[in-house]
């Protein structure tokens, strides 16, 4: 199943998150999205950074919440969880105040942090280093 998608290695590398490399990459993607929204307005940066953000955090969440599932389902469940989290944190922000560019950036950062923490918790629980 791992080879079936060709990203078994990528998944392992992301989930291991050595020196928090992928967490930092996820934060960098958010900052790039913020910069793009605030000034650059490029039609390419947003989708590119969003893909990076989605893949990293979906893998984090898939590993944290659906470890026992097969790779395909782990990734898809991770993706669904990420969408739900984005919607939920966005919803909370919206009912409290609004969803302007700065607050959307905060939503993305909060979700990235939560995903990374959940992944770390699972990693520690399984004794992965």
């Amino acid at each position: 199943m791992k080879r079936a998608f060709g990203f078994g290695t990528i998944e392992k590398s992301v989930v291991d998150d050595k020196r928090l490399l992928y967490t930092i990459a996820s934060y960098s993607a958010v900052l790039a999205i913020f910069a793009n929204l605030s000034s650059l307005q490029s039609p390419f940066i947003g989708p590119m950074m969003s893909i990076i953000y989605f893949v990293i955090n979906a893998l984090f969440l898939g590993n944290a919440l659906f470890k026992k599932e097969e790779a395909f389902f782990r990734f898809m469940f991770g993706m669904l969880s990420l969408i739900l989290l984005l919607g939920f944190v966005g919803w909370l922000t919206l009912i409290i105040y609004n969803l302007d560019i700065a607050r959307v950036t905060l939503v993305l950062l909060a979700v990235a942090t939560l995903s990374s923490l959940l992944n770390m918790r699972m990693k520690n629980r399984n004794g992965q280093k």
């Binding site: 199943m1 793009n36 953000y53 939920f88 919803w91 009912i95 609004n98 993305l108």
Partner: protein, 629 residues
């Protein structure tokens, strides 16, 4: 790799490549069919599209019955499902008229930062109405769409139009797959189920429109799957996932949320019944009470909705229909529901056939599981059968014994379809495997000319018949069923969809007006306005779709187009410029020409190109308030 398998793998790869080409071709045909002026997709869809989609579906069904990896098969089904649910989004420039544009109109307010002190954007009458607005589902969808649109740096329209088709296309087949597996189905059956869920017209329609109810249906399906897992698991994570999916189902739409929580109670009852060693009578009575309680939650919730100060009508229990309707109509409504009202036979058949096969399959499986190895799945089958029955009962209560509901009862068919799809797949797979067993029993040692010569004619005919049924007839029937369902899922009759010139007019006003403005228009203009600037936007004001003031202003302007009504609109909305939009196809040529000439007589000025928009089919009139007025 086993050498004997190589030719098969090669054929499989060729089939997959062919399938991919056909799917790409189908997507491009849909894009070619894109139009700015049509009533239904069937008016404009490229004539090659349906044959191409049929061929692609045929190939997909054949791929499903091979030993290809599950992940690959599911990926193909997901792409197929996204295509099937994208007709509105790809063909119409503003998606399907009405519902999804109303949701977009409100989401726009968030995207354009018109909401600055928490949802809802309009003043709340009380704390209960504020809480009601928070949990209306539209809030959750608006938040999700806006976050995604900002992430991708694209306009909200694109995210909104593709949100449900993509999420539905990606996640509903997976939920169907997992649910079928939880019923003891093999992987081939589960894959079949993931495709079959698109053969149910109502489910397909809701997967094609971007409304919060559709989002809720997706999470409902997952809550159902986690309930099945919960029934034979004590894992706390499964419990949390079950509750979380019910919560998100509720957050997306109250209907789906209430159904999820009703079934959650039923699942709890099933589990406690399984654990406790009570007598058979006590257990049956307990389950029966739980069933009645769970089934009563949805109808009662409509009554309790009256506690919230909402704009829709008040739901009440009534026996009026029983007293006033003729007996045949009551029987028709009881048996067929809305279908009793003059739908053609094809439509009725395509809506009814899936649930009917599912009921037969449930009865067969329940009977069989009494004494077979699949007994461990019996509780799952029982639970889903009870859930299915609960939906049938609820639908009839809402249809026959209630009035003033804030939604149409037929939405319950989508829940029914989700439960039915796995059972239909199990039934079809049972037929396929019995045919395979017959083929094996009949099969010659090897299918060569010499072996055929020594076999009897009857045997050869039976083998060929079985091979034809398995490899041609079943895939063709299934592909045909799916395609025929699409003709019911996507309406054959509809009002003129939002046209390119209505959108152009709204865009033109938005791009060229730097002051706060109000637009007086009919409901179709308001839908177009919702797509571009939203509704009730204080900067670019379009009245709510069914707002009486907005309607009266348009009516008065149509009768006597004059400055008086435009000034009134400006005063009401605290704006400095008023626009009045009229469209020929909406009003009819005679009325349209009358209003144009009358407006010109009364000194109203045409805004934008003098020849109007859409080759003279739409005119904008405007008036700007002077400071001393």
């Amino acid at each position: 790799m086993d050498k004997s398998k190589r030719p098969f793998i090669n054929y499989l790869r060729i089939t997959e490549i062919l399938y991919s080409v056909l799917i790409l071709f189908s997507f491009s045909l849909l894009l070619i069919s894109r139009t700015g002026e049509a009533h239904t997709i069937w008016e404009v869809v490229n004539p090659l599209f349906i044959p191409a989609l049929f061929a692609a579906t045929f190939l997909l069904v054949t791929i499903m019955f091979t030993s290809e990896k599950v992940a690959h098969k599911l990926t193909f089904v997901i792409i197929h499902s996204i295509l099937i649910h994208s007709f509105f989004s790809i063909i119409f420039p503003a998606g399907d008229m009405s519902g999804q544009q109303m949701v977009l109109g409100r989401s726009r307010l968030v995207f354009d930062n018109a909401v600055v002190h928490g949802w809802a954007p309009w003043p709340a009458m009380s704390i209960t109405s504020r809480v009601y607005e928070w949990f209306r589902g539209i809030t959750f969808q608006a938040a999700l769409s806006v976050v995604l649109a900002r992430m991708l740096s694209i306009d909200l329209l694109w995210v909104h139009l593709s949100l449900i088709p993509v999420l539905w296309g990606a996640f509903v087949p997976i939920a169907a797959f997992l649910t079928t597996k939880a019923l003891g189905g093999k992987e081939e059956t589960a894959i079949l189920s993931s495709l079959l869920v698109s053969a149910f017209p109502y489910a397909t329609y809701f997967g094609a429109i971007s409304v919060h109810n559709s989002l809720g249906f997706i999470f409902f399906f997952y809550s159902l799957y986690f309930m099945l897992r919960y029934l034979d698991s004590d894992d706390s994570k499964t419990n949390s996932l079950m509750v979380a999916s019910c919560f998100f189902s509720f957050l997306s739409h109250s209907l789906t949320g209430i159904m999820s929580f009703s079934l959650l109670l039923l699942a709890l009852a099933f589990k406690s019944h399984r654990r406790e060693k009570s007598t058979r009578v006590t257990a049956t009575v307990f389950l029966l009470i739980s069933f009645v309680f769970s089934a009563s939650i949805l109808p009662l919730s409509f009554i309790y909705l009256g506690l919230f100060p909402i704009r829709t009508g008040r739901a009440v229990f009534t026996l009026d229909k029983l007293y006033t309707l003729p007996f045949e109509e009551i029987v028709g409504l009881f048996l067929l529901g809305e279908l009793a009202y003059g739908f053609d036979l094809k439509t009725m058949l395509l809506i009814v056939v899936g649930p009917l096969i599912a009921i037969l399959s449930m009865i067969y499986l329940l009977y069989k599981s009494k004494s077979s190895p699949s007994k461990k799945y019996r509780i799952h089958i029982l639970f889903l059968s009870a859930a299915f029955l609960m939906i049938l009962v609820d639908y009839r209560i809402l249809k026959l014994f209630m009035e003033g509901l804030p939604l149409n009862e037929e939405r319950l068919w989508v829940f029914q379809d989700f439960i039915a799809a796995p059972f239909v797949a199990l039934a079809i797979y049972a037929i396929v495997s019995s045919l395979r067993t017959s083929l094996k029993a009949l099969s010659l040692p090897n299918l060569s000319v010499s072996s055929l010569k020594v076999s009897s004619k009857g045997k050869i005919l039976r083998v060929l018949g079985l091979l034809f049924t398995l490899n041609v007839l079943i895939p063709v029937t299934m592909a045909g069923w799916l395609i025929a369902s699409l003709s019911v899922a996507y309406p054959q009759v509809a009002p003129l969809q939002t046209t390119w010139y209505e959108l152009d007019a709204v865009r033109y006003i938005e791009a060229n007006t730097h002051e706060k403005y109000v637009v007086i228009g009919d409901v179709w203009t308001i839908f177009a306005g919702e797509v571009i600037v939203g509704v009730n936007n204080p900067r670019a004001y379009y009245f709510l779709e069914y707002n009486k003031t907005g309607f009266d202003l348009f009516f008065n302007m149509s009768q006597e187009p004059s400055l008086q009504w435009m000034l009134r609109a400006m005063t009401l909305t605290d704006t400095k410029i008023a626009y009045f939009i009229i469209t020929e196809p909406r009003l009819g040529t005679e009325d349209f020409n009358y209003i144009v000439s009358k407006a010109l007589q009364n000194g109203l000025q045409i805004y934008g190109p003098p020849e109007g928009f859409g080759n003279g089919r739409l005119y904008i009139f405007y008036y700007e308030k002077e400071d001393n007025l």
